[in-house]
């Protein structure tokens, strides 16, 4: 409660704003991407040297080098290299500059908001949440496309059951890179760009709670991405995205990159989620009651909660794995007293909430967009938010359904069967809300709306196939097969990524002040929708017919289905290419200006100009009604953007009274 009161005061007009890096000086002299890269190179060289120095055999321990390396390389040197590389990268980016200045007793002169245009700010460590949002957006698109290209590689190999494009080693490396990159980086595909950019606008705040932490969370993602890719020159890793020991303990040095990158991304998730959670809880404008919070904010709130609670387990597990590989611990080695089950539990205790970290932002976007394009209030606002809270809570109680066949205590299986099936109830809420909102609506088939509708279709298939997996006997056939793979691609690709695309078409006019080409958008949608379903629907059958995941050889009678899937997946790739072309074409070449509110949305973020002013709002607005009051006669405007000082003060005290009552 004390925090909230404090936040209320900082929200007052004229209150302190985040302050940050000064704006003077030539571009190359200021800390930015290039200085970060220089710092990273120096850091890696130093760390690697240090690791080798410590490992040089001496008279006392002639086997030191070999002891430290559990595989063919000196893993200790590699991990130290990564660690110092990270430190160098952050120093180079100027992450610690303000801290040092404060310690030296200097003043931090400038407002952190980047009011001036120019591309340079996107390459810097910046305290402006809108710049961080765009950085995340571009970053996420790059990560997604890289991992997507790897998926094309997988499907190319699977064109034939016996003829091989890749060696077995390269194939497994590609599978692992694709899976890990998608699963670790796409956790932030919506929370990163849209969450960071839009949430302050949606809750009527001029700033986020922790701008430095927010920026840091972003600048860790390129590091995690590049470290993960660096596994390839190190010989790759050969255990998929799950990294089960003892395989991952024995594997070549690429495994260090996997564990380091995944753990690092865990830290990024923790940082990003804390910033978002505190922002939503403490920085809402007067009148932005919980009952008026946009669904998108509810969804991101749930996502942030899961991230904050699950990601530490991931980072812990990954760093235990690194210790096993370098420091001679044996957390996960059975005959030295460790346990592989420990890793499996740690991994899936993160891994299952992660699946909902990937699903909930999708729920959030479709629930946010549906009222706009049906021109109706959201059906069952409380049901929708309860659904999101329910998913958030239950997601922590289901993880052992990944281990039904693993030899865990068999007594536990009915319990996990129950919890897993229970989670389909709050998920069903989201569908109820969708159906209710469409009821007697005036549905406008805009491009973002098409993506939302496709989300419901895809997630219906993904969700219902998930119920099969919760049933122990049915799961015995489906576990570890292409059925599972099809299932989670339906929820993640068909859910999250479709929602992300919808969000792009919907919010890019707001974020960049340009609208994406609609014709290309429609071509993109239809190709992506058809190709996606054509790719993943047959994989349910492939899995049930007995094809395990991550194999490069399969039964001859499944060739036709696999070829069909592969060819469809190439079309899916083309559809993403169309999106990229549309994105670049519309934002760089044509630049069709969009300044107003093209969707006639009641969302608070649309009540300011596009792109929003540097400080979001001139003064903190007073929220007057909910965001979905479409068709309600005499509904007050969503907010008063220029409340007289007296009104604002009254609004503040009113909201504080309301809080006190609640």
């Amino acid at each position: 409660m004390a925090i909230e009161t404090e936040a209320g005061t900082t929200q007052r007009p004229g209150g302190p704003d985040p302050v940050g890096t000064p704006g003077a000086g030539a571009w190359w002299a200021r800390p930015a991407l290039h200085t970060g890269v220089i710092g990273a190179i120096i850091g890696y060289a130093f760390g690697h040297w240090l690791g080798n120095y410590w490992a040089v055999p001496t008279a006392n321990s002639p086997a030191a080098y070999q002891q430290i390396g559990t595989s063919d390389g000196n893993d200790f040197a590699i991990v130290l290299g990564y660690t110092f590389m990270l430190v160098g990268w952050l120093i180079g980016l100027g992450v610690f500059n303000d801290l040092v200045k404060l310690m030296l007793g200097k003043r931090l002169p400038q407002n952190g908001h980047e009011a001036n245009g120019g591309v340079a700010k996107y390459f810097r460590f910046t305290l402006d949440h809108k710049v961080v949002g765009i950085q995340y957006l571009i970053g996420m698109i790059i990560y997604f496309c890289t991992a997507g290209l790897l998926a094309m590689g997988i499907r190319t190999e699977l064109l034939s059951p016996v003829h091989h494009v890749f060696s077995s080693s390269v194939y497994v490396e590609i599978v692992g890179e694709h899976g890990t990159m998608m699963m670790m980086l796409m956790t932030s595909v919506i929370l990163g760009p849209f969450g960071n950019y839009l949430i302050p606008l949606m809750i009527g705040s001029k700033r986020v709670a922790f701008p430095r932490i927010e920026a840091l969370s972003f600048w860790l993602t390129p590091a995690a991405f590049l470290v993960l890719l660096s596994a390839l020159p190190l010989g790759g890793f050969h255990f998929g995205w799950t990294g089960y020991p003892t395989l991952s303990v024995q594997d070549t040095s690429g495994a260090d990159a996997y564990a380091f990158a995944f753990g690092l991304m865990g830290i990024s998730m923790i940082l990003a989620s804390f910033n978002i959670l505190v922002t939503v809880i403490c920085y809402r404008a007067p009148g932005m009651r919980w009952g008026r919070l946009p669904m998108f904010v509810w969804g991101i709130l749930g996502t942030g909660t899961m991230m904050a609670l699950a990601a530490p387990i991931l980072s812990g597990g990954m760093y235990m794995l690194l210790l096993d590989r370098t420091a001679q611990t044996a957390f996960f080695t059975d005959n030295l007293g460790g346990s592989t089950y420990l890793y499996e539990d740690l991994f899936w205790f993160f891994g299952h909430p992660e699946v909902y970290i990937l699903a909930l932002p999708g729920f959030a976007i479709v629930s946010e967009l549906l009222p706009v394009f049906t021109r109706k209030p959201l059906f069952g606002y409380k049901v929708a938010s309860a659904g999101m809270i329910g998913v958030t809570l239950l997601s922590f109680f289901v993880w052992q359904h990944h281990l039904f066949d693993s030899g865990i205590d068999p007594d536990m299986r009915p319990l996990y069967m129950l919890t897993t099936e229970l989670i389909s109830i709050p998920t069903g809420f989201i569908f109820l809300v969708g159906m209710g909102t469409l009821w007697k609506a005036k549905i406008r088939f805009t491009v973002p709306m098409l993506f939302c509708l496709a989300f419901y279709f895809n997630f219906l298939i993904g969700g219902i196939s998930g119920v099969y997996l919760s049933d122990v006997p049915a799961d015995t056939t489906e576990h570890g097969s292409f059925f599972v793979m099809a299932h989670f691609h339906y929820t993640i690709m068909g859910g999250l990524i479709f929602a992300f695309m919808g969000g792009c078409y919907y919010w890019l006019p707001k974020m960049m002040g340009i609208s994406l080409n609609e014709k290309l958008g429609r071509v993109h949608f239809w190709l992506m929708f058809i190709a996606f379903n054509s790719t993943f629907l047959p994989l349910f059958a492939v899995g049930l017919a007995g094809q395990p995941r991550r194999v490069f050889e399969y039964a001859r009678n499944l060739t036709t289905l696999n070829d069909w899937v592969s060819i469809s997946s190439f079309f899916l790739g083309v559809s993403i290419l169309i999106f990229i072309i549309n994105f670049v074409w519309s934002t760089v070449v044509v630049r069709n200006r969009e300044t107003g509110n093209p969707w006639k949305s009641r969302g608070l973020e649309w009540q300011v100009s596009s792109p929003p002013p540097a400080d979001n709002f001139e003064t903190v607005p007073v929220v007057l009604s909910g965001p979905y009051e479409y068709g309600v006669k005499d509904a007050p405007p969503v907010a008063d953007l220029n409340p007289p000082v007296g009104v604002l003060a009254a609004g503040l005290s009113e909201s504080e009274t309301a809080r006190a009552e609640a």
């Binding site: 086997a63 303990v249 080695t333 059975d334 007697k440 005036k442 049933d471 015995t476």
Partner: protein, 330 residues
């Protein structure tokens, strides 16, 4: 179902049709049709077939789940498609839709129905797991299974007792990169790479690994169990018909995971017995060199090797499976 709503009809001109009733009728017809199709046409052909009791149980579960899921899926789809057609935006209509904020009756109905369905599925799944034809559904139950067929043998002594057709046949599955080996303790503990099982007799698989985690998936038998180093993971099935078996590794175990498969067959009781006794004699010389039968193995065949290596300062978390100067084993 939950389709009807008490929201006031908009537009005074034409009479608003009863959308709820229309959707209900379409749903009823399609849901019935799809359920009949699933049960009678698709059902008998659903994977993983009916070669063994565990497979049979899984097939039944998949059939029942499909029959329960289809009406839900059909309902949601019809609701969406109906709405998209009937309530699409008409050119020139700039008015907003009716301000329906919710409907308690619909919400309560939906929540109740989904909860009931979910609880039914849970009850059904648990019943099938415990009492189904598969004894533990054919999935790995760990070293101390709770669902056992009559006469299950869980100690080394029991498992090494001579074979009898009246109790389960014990087969130890030893996984290693990148091969499964099958050991028959009731026949002197010989090892082979061909999986032979008798018809109409419970088979107990004791699955373990000597290096990394694998997963023993005998598709037609409906058996899937992780092979963990140092762990004995037990799964049961009862082959019901003669036929061939495909075994695949179902947990990524390194470079040649994709090539880790082999075959086997369900034989008649007498054929199996003569195969087993012949194999026992054939492999007798090899069997002598094998480590004594145990539920788990230390791959280096030196007891407590890990501890010894630690004393010598020769290993760390490499697991002791491969001494540090061996080539890496991804």
């Amino acid at each position: 179902m939950a389709a009807e709503t008490s929201a006031p009809a908009t537009g005074a001109g034409e009479r608003e049709p009863n959308h709820g009733m229309r959707i209900f009728i379409i749903w009823l017809v399609l849901a019935l049709a799809s359920d009949l199709l699933i049960w009678f046409v698709l059902g008998p052909h659903l994977p993983p077939g009916d070669l063994a009791s565990a497979a049979n149980g899984q097939q039944f579960d998949i059939k029942v789940m499909s029959a329960m899921a289809a009406p839900v899926m059909v309902f949601v789809l019809i609701q969406f498609i109906y709405s998209l057609i009937v309530w699409r935006h008409r050119e020139g209509d700039e008015e907003d839709g009716p301000p329906i904020h919710g409907n308690t009756r619909v919400q309560v109905t939906w929540i109740t129905l989904t909860t009931v369905i979910v609880l039914c599925l849970f009850g059904f799944g648990t019943y099938e797991l415990v009492n189904g034809p598969g004894a533990g559904a054919g999935s790995g139950e760990g070293p101390s299974p709770i669902v056992n067929p009559p006469g299950a043998e869980l100690t080394v002594a029991q498992q090494m007792a001579p074979y009898s057709a009246s109790k389960p046949l014990v087969i130890q599955v030893i996984a290693q990169q990148w091969r499964f080996t099958y050991r028959y303790p009731q026949f002197g503990g010989f090892e082979t790479t061909y999986l032979a099982v008798p018809q109409n007799q419970w088979v107990e698989f004791d699955v373990t690994s000597i290096d990394v985690i694998h997963d023993f998936w005998a598709y037609q038998l409906g058996v899937k169990a992780d092979a963990d180093p140092g762990v004995n993971n037990v799964a049961y099935t009862k082959p019901l018909q003669l036929g061939s078996i495909t075994v695949r590794c179902d947990e990524l175990c390194g470079l040649w995971h994709g090539a880790m498969y082999d075959y086997g067959s369900v034989m008649t009781q007498s054929a199996f017995q003569s195969w087993a006794t012949a194999s026992q004699a054939h492999f007798a010389d090899v069997t002598k060199m094998l480590p004594p039968y145990a539920t788990t193995y230390d791959p280096t065949e030196i007891k407590q090797l890990g501890t010894v290596l630690v004393k010598l300062g020769l290993t760390g978390a490499g697991g002791g499976y491969y001494p540090p100067n061996d080539p890496s084993q991804p």
